[in-house]
């Protein structure tokens, strides 16, 4: 299976990049993996809700352009479905069994994702009731994808 992690906005915090790199490296032993950084629209802190909506719409276009053709799409958002690590492993496993060869996971900016993007996704996933910085969410998701494959492969990493 080939996985794509699409995230909006880069980070100046090196430790997040390094943490992602570590789990990406481990993940590549099990699956194709690519992470794609999509440019974040700049909005001032006092941005009105219409300015935010406009920014999310622009980001939606960039995200859609980064989704591989025919990929199963999963957006991360607080209203999404909660899965355990084993549940995520089962989901990936059942996708693979049903012939899905590509899955894209999408993490928005601090303003989230547009409604229409979320509506169009095959699945919405929530990792926590808490709000995390999107770059920490990227580390968490990359680690969970790696963990999912160790669970599927019966490896010792997962406890």
């Amino acid at each position: 299976m080939h996985l794509t992690l699409i995230y909006v906005g880069s980070t100046s915090e090196k430790f997040y990049e390094e943490a992602c790199k570590e789990y990406e490296k481990r993940l590549c032993a099990f699956a194709g993996f690519k992470s794609v950084c999509v440019k974040e629209e700049k909005i001032s802190d006092e941005g009105s809700s219409s300015a935010v909506e406009k920014a999310l719409a622009a980001e939606e276009q960039r995200i859609k352009a980064a989704v591989p053709k025919g990929a199963f799409t999963c957006a991360l958002c607080i209203e999404g479905r909660r899965l355990s690590s084993e549940g995520l492993a089962e989901k990936l496993s059942s996708l693979a069994s049903s012939g899905v060869s590509s899955a894209a996971f999408i993490i928005g900016s601090s303003h989230g994702l547009s409604k229409s993007l979320k509506t169009g996704c095959d699945m919405l996933l929530s990792m926590s009731d808490m709000t995390f910085p999107h770059m920490l969410a990227r580390v968490m998701l990359t680690e969970q994808l790696y963990r999912a494959f160790t669970i599927m492969g019966g490896k010792k990493y997962h406890k």
Copy 2:
């Protein structure tokens, strides 16, 4: 308020240490904060459940010794209460209002925490249905404590 984060076992992954350091630094603008690393018992990968129990009991003693006298205690575990970031901020705020001046948060090793430690805590908290490496959980919790204070202070960090 003074916060203590007690965690079992150190890490060789520098990016986790750096991420924690960054949020600890930010948190110190709002509250007293100390993180305490408690030695992890070594168990072989094939450790029996009694070996795990024995290790958790030894770790429990070290954790208890690290909890400041009179502190409110909160253990992180998957069966704990789920809170949003705002919910955690409210909890800390209500503790402060009721005169609690010290709170200790406890993260176990990959084997978790002993039952008796959890039973004795004032609160159990779950950040996710997913299992994260305990050092990533430490980053997540430190960030959430920092976020809680920005929420209480009406700062712009939280979205």
